[in-house]
């Protein structure tokens, strides 16, 4: 691909603009950034509108915007699981997560593992939750880089030898710098710009492209007949349903989701956003359809994009579509939207991983006496390490590893569901039982993923009937079963249950504050 100077110029201008916003955001809703809850949760000051942009920018990542239409492009209807997935997360968010917000505010928790530590009084269960969070997040950060890498290559930036990764390194150096200085305020401020750009790009696409190819019926007609719907059998339904159910159960357990939720200024903000965030689900549905538009426009057969498809596979479908139908300046705008879309979640994820490490590993096991200033500076340095790790991951290992690891990440993170979500309602489960259940789920899920060669669906033989379903669902069911049965056994022997929380903590509107 020849260097697209116009697109690249527009891209760089927007990148420079958000860099400026990132640094300037340190002064926004001013707080003492030497306190971890100020750096890592922006003091919990974000109202409805900022939280809407922050969670939208956080949950719908650059990789989502590339991979979901790529799946539609290559596999058809199954890619639409992203829509019901993002439908059912919001009633769940509405009903459950205000409780987490309240108990966190009442007790000064800044991570999910903090809550588990306080609720069960068990540092090992908290460690398991923290490690799972960090492990699931790292490949997710790496995948954001993949999105960025694709759009940079699509603009014709071809560097050789050691310079291949230069654009990525520059982008991540910028990201690391504003993260370090401004903490969560930076991605929150940038998310506003990024989300608006994504909305403009997608609406431009759904207005321009159907008109160009002759209407929506032409677009759907171009999809191979057998891919337009799911196969008409029980197995296809259980696979589809369990895929979106499991993804939905996992989403708000991810550290970056928890960080987004806890940074909001009240439980009402979370509830309000549960009703308002589905606007992004609609956007994601339209983005999935970009994959079908790419089929209709016929980008795969065009020689101009052959090298892109060769290098990035179907993930190149959307960049090729954008290059094909839009003028260069708008290509730059759209690619900047995807590129900046990579920075926002990568920033929040690395902050979330840093919060976990600092609070639940460093302060819990290494330096229990550390003061708030040390804690905050430790987290800042850890957020750099997280980003550097992701960068090395992409530079040294094959991309497929990042994709496989991200699939495993979803299977792993769902194993914290019993401890965290059930823990918001009851203290009946025993922490040791939960820990064994967690380990069982982790081992079973990883084993199934290896067995399927890192495909998400495992075909389990249940009394002679093969039921294909998402591995996360099977493994978390095992986790539930083990946790329940062992809790029955352990509870029969236990005399007391450690629990620093009280029932009213889960409904509090204000609480004494954060980070005490």
């Amino acid at each position: 691909m020849p260097l697209n100077t116009t697109a690249l110029t527009v891209f760089v201008i927007f990148f420079a603009f958000v860099t400026f916003i990132g640094f300037a955001s340190a002064r926004w809703k001013r707080g003492d950034l030497d306190q971890l809850h100020e750096w890592g949760l922006a003091g919990g000051r974000f109202g409805t509108v900022i939280t809407w942009f922050l969670l939208g920018g956080d949950l719908y990542t650059a990789y989502t915007f590339v991979a979901v239409p790529a799946l539609a492009f290559g596999a058809g209807a199954i890619a639409f699981f992203a829509v019901p997935y993002t439908i059912i997360i919001y009633p769940f968010l509405f009903a459950v997560f205000p409780r987490l917000w309240s108990v966190a505010r009442a007790r000064g928790y800044i991570t999910a593992a903090d809550f588990v530590r306080g609720r069960y009084g068990d540092r090992w269960l908290a460690l398991a939750v923290a490690l799972t969070g960090i492990l699931a997040t790292m490949p997710y950060i790496a995948l954001q880089l993949v999105g960025l890498e694709i759009v940079i290559a699509a603009m014709g930036v071809q560097l050789a030898g050691v310079l291949v990764y230069l654009p990525l390194i520059i982008a991540f150096a910028i990201l690391a710098a504003f993260d370090y200085f401004a903490g969560l305020r930076a991605p929150a401020a940038i998310a506003v710009v990024k989300d608006l750009m994504i909305y403009v790009t997608v609406f431009a696409a759904i207005i321009v492209i159907p008109a160009e190819v002759g209407g929506w019926d032409k677009i759907f007609a171009s999809v191979p007949q057998q891919q337009l719907l799911l196969a008409d059998n029980f197995g296809a339904y259980t696979a589809y349903g369990s895929l979106f159910l499991g993804s939905a159960m996992a989403l708000f357990l991810y550290p970056h989701s928890v960080t987004g939720i806890l940074s909001s200024s009240s439980r009402h903000v979370i509830r309000r956003n549960a009703a308002l965030l589905p606007a992004y689900s609609f956007l994601l549905g339209l983005i999935a359809l970009l994959g079908f538009m790419a089929i209709a426009v016929g980008v795969k057969g065009m020689s101009a994009y052959a090298s892109g498809f060769e290098q990035f596979g179907n993930n190149f479908a959307v960049p090729a579509l954008i290059l094909q139908v839009f003028p260069s300046w708008f290509v730059g705008f759209a690619f900047a939207a995807i590129g900046i879309g990579a920075l926002v979640p990568a920033a929040i994820m690395s902050i979330a991983a840093a919060n976990l490490f600092t609070r639940n590993i460093y302060r819990e096991f290494i330096r229990p006496d550390c003061d708030p200033r040390t804690e905050s500076s430790m987290a800042k340095r850890m957020s750099l390490v997280a980003k550097l790790g992701a960068l090395l991951f992409i530079m040294l290992l094959r991309k497929e590893y990042a994709i496989n690891m991200q699939l495993l990440g979803g299977i792993w993170i769902i194993q914290t569901f019993p401890a965290m979500i059930l823990g918001l309602y009851t203290r009946w489960l025993d922490p040791k039982a939960l820990l064994v259940g967690w380990a069982a789920g982790m081992i079973c899920g990883t084993w199934m993923a290896v067995m399927t060669n890192f495909a998400p669906i495992y075909r389990l033989d249940l009394f002679g009937t093969v039921v294909p379903a998402y591995i996360a669902i099977y493994s978390v069911l095992l986790n539930f079963a083990v946790s329940l049965v062992l809790s029955l056994v352990f509870n029969a022997q236990a005399k007391t249950r450690a629990d620093e929380t009280i029932p009213t903590d889960y409904a509090t509107e204000t609480g004494p504050g954060m980070g005490h």
């Binding site: 639409f80 829509v83 019901p84 009633p91 509405f94 719907l229 339904y237 589809y240 009703a275 689900s281």
Partner: protein, 72 residues
């Protein structure tokens, strides 16, 4: 609100409405082409439309459970 206990019960009852969006788990219901809408097969427009059902339900539950005197 004069009767807190009654208000509490109402709150609790309304929350069950949040299960409506989960009906989307019944996949065979919408895995079909007809009827189409603006060229969209049923599979696609039904799921996109269900987003709005989910928004309306969640929005309704929000207003039904939120204390009236809150302006935040």
């Amino acid at each position: 609100m004069n009767d807190n206990r009654e208000a509490g019960n109402n709150k609790h009852g309304v929350l069950w409405l949040l299960l409506i969006p989960f009906l989307v788990l019944w996949v065979p219901f919408y895995n079909r082409i007809e009827p189409t809408l603006f060229g969209f097969p049923f599979f696609y427009w039904f799921q996109l439309g269900w987003i709005f059902v989910s928004m309306i339900v969640t929005g309704y539950v929000y207003y039904a459970t939120e204390p009236r005197d809150k302006t935040r």
